[in-house]
């Protein structure tokens, strides 16, 4: 009897829990859009860098939230490359948190112990990094956030970022226009819970508000994993007899999605959203002359180092150095395809020495 009551209580709690959570999810999306709009204004504010000014040589510490996909790897190499171009930088030390926020906090503390002059980072989860970042700020060491979002906090000196909201909006808008405002689509997003996934979905929903005849039938999380994206798409193909479009800004996953459609013999019915410059994706564009790309802003790695240098030399710096994204037509995107390189590759200006292995 006691056990039964316990299990019943657990079941009731679980139901209350999911009810409360459903209500909460709504608010977050709205808040997210408001944040991005506010950010566009704040990005231009100046940062007082006089207290960071010091004499070279400088030691860079990079706290990578993860190094497990090729885009991030290229970005990491860009950081090292850009640092090599400036003699003021003595070395670059990189730590990898492998998607573990507790490890990232420890990594940051260890980098501090080692004695760095500036911290570049991309967080596993930005809120989880705050206590660690505050320790860095307390030591008067500047921090630069790299990636897809702007962190508005005194602990983050500056940001070098790609406007994910704008990028996702561009992708969604192009898809909606190509579909002529009508059809059933599903979304292929990165890791559930990551800021990329959250932002992409919120931006998509925002664009879809002005296209009421487009129905978002399902949201799938492919984890930036091509094989997983392919498997999830196979399920989608079975579930929906007709799919008009797929929202997938990550070319890595788009390649997997398309393969599933191809193997099912349903290539003709689907319109893909623009992807990015992933070699495996632009390969498809070269083959079919369709769909296009929105650039992913890989240059943001270089922008962060330039920003760091400026801060350490006490120069004028704004709170964010934004790398813009642009839409590439199928013809332009196809030019990026390099048949000599594997699918998991990105077009870059990196010299041979700095390319990933």
């Amino acid at each position: 009897m006691r056990k039964f009551k316990l299990l019943l209580a657990a079941a009731v709690a679980a139901m209350a829990w999911s009810g409360w959570s459903a209500a909460r999810a709504q608010q977050s999306d709205e808040a997210l859009k408001a944040t991005f709009e506010r950010v566009a204004k704040i990005a231009q504010e100046a940062v007082d860098t006089t207290r960071f000014k010091k004499k070279p040589p400088y030691h860079i510490g990079v706290s990578a939230g993860y190094l497990s996909n090729s885009w991030i790897l290229f970005l990491n190499q860009y950081v090292k490359y850009e640092a090599s171009l400036h003699p003021e930088f003595a070395d670059v030390v990189v730590t990898d948190a492998a998607f573990n926020p507790a490890k990232q906090a420890s990594d940051v503390e260890d980098l501090l112990s080692k004695g760095i002059d500036v911290l570049l980072f991309w967080p596993v989860d930005e809120k989880s990094m705050m206590p660690a970042l505050e320790k860095v700020a307390a030591k008067n060491i500047p921090t630069v956030n790299i990636g897809y979002n702007f962190i508005d906090s005194p602990a983050v000196t500056s940001n070098a970022y790609v406007d994910q909201w704008k990028q996702s909006t561009q992708v969604a808008t192009h898809l909606a226009e190509t579909l002529k405002g009508k059809g059933t689509i599903f979304a292929m997003l990165p890791i559930a819970g990551s800021s990329a996934a959250v932002t992409q979905l919120a931006a998509l929903n925002d664009v879809l508000k002005s296209h009421p005849d487009i129905k978002l039938a399902s949201v799938q999380y492919g984890d930036w994993n091509r094989a997983k994206a392919k498997q999830l798409t196979e399920n989608m193909l079975q579930r929906f007899p007709h799919i008009d479009g797929v929202f997938s800004p990550a070319g890595q996953m788009s390649a997997g999605v398309l393969e599933a459609f191809d193997e099912a013999g349903r290539m003709g019915e689907v319109t893909m959203s623009p992807g990015d410059e992933y070699n495996g994706w632009v390969k498809w564009i070269a083959k079919t002359d369709k769909w296009g790309s929105v650039t992913s802003g890989l240059d943001v790695g270089r922008a962060s180092v330039i920003q760091a240098l400026a801060i350490l030399q006490g120069e004028k710096v704004t709170r964010a150095r934004v790398v813009s994204t642009e839409y590439l037509t199928p013809k332009d995107a196809a030019k990026l395809y390099d048949p000599k390189r594997p699918d998991d590759w990105w077009p870059s200006s990196l010299p041979e020495k700095f390319l990933p292995k």
Binding site: L67, S68, N69, S70, L73, A192, S218, V219, Q220, Y221, N225, R226, A227, K230, Q231, E234, N235, Q238, R239, A255, G256, E259, E263, G280, P342, D343, D344, W345, P356, K357
Partner: protein, 334 residues
């Protein structure tokens, strides 16, 4: 019922107990067919099996290890390593294909042998040891691949393996069935297979009976590594590219399938046939949940619930059939 003599009843129950997972699968199929007619289409069902093939091939090797009382948690890492290695060795040339496949299988077998040797000659727990091996192998895979999903598959590799016979039956499913058949043959008809069951049930007795425990241990773990390598190759054929963490989490899917199929951690029970059944049940159930439209997170809950529910049912069936096996007199005394 007077028609069923006690002997007949015992026999029926034993058959039911041994093949209970297939009953569960049949039941689940019926339920799925009612919920959606997609499950009546052979192409759809074949697709389901195809999705489980890499895990399935790997699970065959792990089942053998578990029968002998051990456990292999490094298979996820081996899958990643072999998938990456195969892609890099192929380097887009078709003449590289044979030696890429051979070297990859060798690599998997070597990792398995490493596990086997350490477990056979030391009193270490296979759980922790294979966990440690997994960490090392993931690291080696990262270093080898440079972090990206490098390597280009040979032309024709994917096409051959992804081809569907008669438009419906995928080649890889046939391969899975063939590999499973080989495994079952080893398990049932070879001395090695019987040795595994004996070691799993009572290692001391096995040693007294003259079995060379270390040798059997090394062989079974090497086989597990080999099957994981084959699983990695299958995964590469499906995905076309392989990154460092391709196989991550597979070891738990393999464990779940084996346990659902009746293979226990203590050893001495179960078999490959059951594992395949368990694999199909899990795959079908998750697909069903996805089809019905439950959120991605709800699927996690369902997966967990199935694992618990199915194991419990299996235990219940096993115990009640065991009590039925007892002679009539002792039962009456209860």
């Amino acid at each position: 019922m007077t028609v069923l003599t006690p002997a007949l009843r015992r026999h029926a129950v034993r058959v039911l107990q041994q093949h209970s997972i297939w009953l569960v699968l049949l039941l689940l199929l019926l339920v799925s067919a009612v919920l959606s007619d997609a499950f009546l289409r052979p192409a759809y069902l074949m697709n389901l099996v195809l999705q489980q093939t890499p895990v399935g091939i790997t699970a065959i090797g792990v089942t053998l290890v578990m029968i002998s009382g051990g456990i292999d948690l490094s298979v996820g890492a081996i899958i990643s390593l072999t998938a990456v290695m195969c892609a890099i060795l192929m380097n887009g040339q078709s003449e590289n294909l044979p030696h890429a496949l051979i070297l990859t299988c060798l690599a998997g077998t070597l990792v398995g042998a490493f596990n086997g040797l350490l477990i056979a000659y030391n009193r270490v727990s296979p759980f922790i040891l294979t966990l440690g091996t997994a960490i090392i192998v993931y690291g080696l895979t990262q270093i080898y691949s440079g972090g990206t999903a490098s390597g280009v598959v040979s032309p024709g590799f994917r096409e051959t393996l992804n081809h569907r016979i008669g438009g419906i039956v995928p080649t890889m499913v046939v391969i899975l069935l063939l590999v499973a058949a080989c495994g079952i043959l080893v398990q049932r008809r070879t001395r090695f297979g019987r040795a595994l069951y004996l070691i799993g049930t009572n290692p001391a007795a096995a040693r007294l009976a003259g079995l060379n425990l270390p040798r059997v241990t090394v062989i079974v773990y090497s086989l597990s590594g080999l099957f994981a390598a084959l699983g990695g190759i299958a995964l590469l054929a499906r995905a076309g590219v392989a990154g460092t963490y391709t196989g991550r989490g597979s070891e738990f899917d393999v464990l779940a399938a084996a346990v659902l199929g009746g293979t226990t951690f203590e050893g001495g029970h179960g078999g490959i046939g059951g594992t395949i059944g368990g694999l199909l049940v899990l795959g079908l159930a998750l697909n069903l949940v996805n089809l019905v439209g439950l959120s991605f997170y709800a699927q996690l809950i369902v997966k967990g619930a199935i694992i618990v529910a199915a194991s419990t049912t299996y235990e219940f069936v096993r115990r009640s059939s065991a009590s039925l096996e007892k002679p009539a007199t002792s039962r009456r005394e209860k």
